[in-house]
């Protein structure tokens, strides 16, 4: 599969995530759109890793394996980030009884 199909698919997913972050007000939906952007980048990293393996795989059988390791670490960091972010959102809901991000624009309740 040519690599530019994967590039444009990932770009479309990333920009849908950006549109969600800019248009929605619910903090959890914004968070989910950030996850969508992370997954678009992951997909592109895996596609590039397979591209490098296709180009350099004859000389080096492990060519391109770094991209997949990076995707693994991105998943690790995303899991930690989701736990902390959801804790912050739950605390915000406890204070304001809403998850609207406009309540946070002064960083106090």
């Amino acid at each position: 599969m040519p690599i530019n199909y994967y590039i444009f698919l990932s770009l479309a997913l990333f920009c849908i995530g950006v549109a969600g972050v800019l248009t929605r007000r619910n903090a959890i939906i914004i968070f989910m759109c950030v996850e969508l952007m992370l997954n678009a980048v992951n997909l592109l990293l895996v596609a590039f890793s397979k591209m490098h393996q296709h180009a350099l795989g004859a000389g080096n059988p492990n060519a391109g394996i770094d991209g997949q390791i990076f995707v693994f670490f991105i998943m690790v960091v995303a899991a930690a980030e989701v736990s902390v972010g959801l804790a912050i959102i739950v605390m915000m809901y406890r204070n304001t009884h809403s998850t609207d991000v406009n309540f946070l624009n002064r960083l106090k309740h």
Partner: protein, 194 residues
């Protein structure tokens, strides 16, 4: 001089052969291509539905569909370990965490106040402009002969990934355990009722 010309001729023949291969490659519509297009369209439509759904629980369910489609892409590229980890960690753990939070908060569709319509239009226009800039920058990039290898290659198997992870990337692996520990402590400190 003659030898130079012969070399030139050989190079031209190779180039035309490569072009023929490329054309054959794009012309044939194998099962891999069909699966690629089906998964791509599924991912894009579900991603749009994540953004436009009024009910947040529906958004979560559509996001799970997006993750399934991306896992299907990973399997198509023979990155089987990442496909399974994506399903288990994202669709299994993180999305269940989101659903738990939604159910704890008891949010309904009408609790989200309607924002100014112009702000929404401005957000969509900004994201569309970003997409336009990216596409315009990458449209003429020279990547016609770069193929992502499908269905073969074994760097995505768990044996090779594990060898690379525990030989070359041991230190980041250990640091990520420290990151998890600090995230756990942070969550407890933030979520504590004071």
């Amino acid at each position: 001089m003659r030898r130079h010309k012969a070399e030139e001729y050989v190079r031209r023949v190779i180039v035309t052969e490569n072009k023929k291969k490329q054309i054959n490659y794009t012309a044939q519509m194998g099962i891999t291509q069909i699966l690629f297009w089906v998964l791509s369209i599924m991912a894009l439509i579900s991603a749009i539905l994540v953004v436009v759904s009024k009910n947040p629980v529906h958004s979560v369910l559509w996001l799970i569909v997006v993750f399934m489609a991306i896992s299907g892409h990973y399997i198509l590229m023979n990155a089987q370990f990442l496909a399974i980890v994506n399903l288990i960690v994202y669709a299994g753990a993180i999305m269940v965490l989101f659903l738990f939070v939604f159910m704890l908060m008891n949010l309904n569709a009408d609790t989200e106040p309607q924002k100014n319509i112009w702000a929404k239009i401005a957000g969509v226009v900004a994201a569309g402009s970003l997409l336009l800039v990216f596409v315009a920058a990458l449209k003429h990039a020279d990547m016609k002969n770069q193929l992502a290898e499908m269905n073969k290659g074994d760097i995505g198997l768990i044996h090779n990934l594990g060898m690379a992870l525990f030989q070359d990337y041991v230190v980041p692996f250990e640091i990520s355990s420290v990151l998890f520990l600090s995230a756990m402590v942070g969550v407890v400190v933030i979520g504590k009722k004071d």
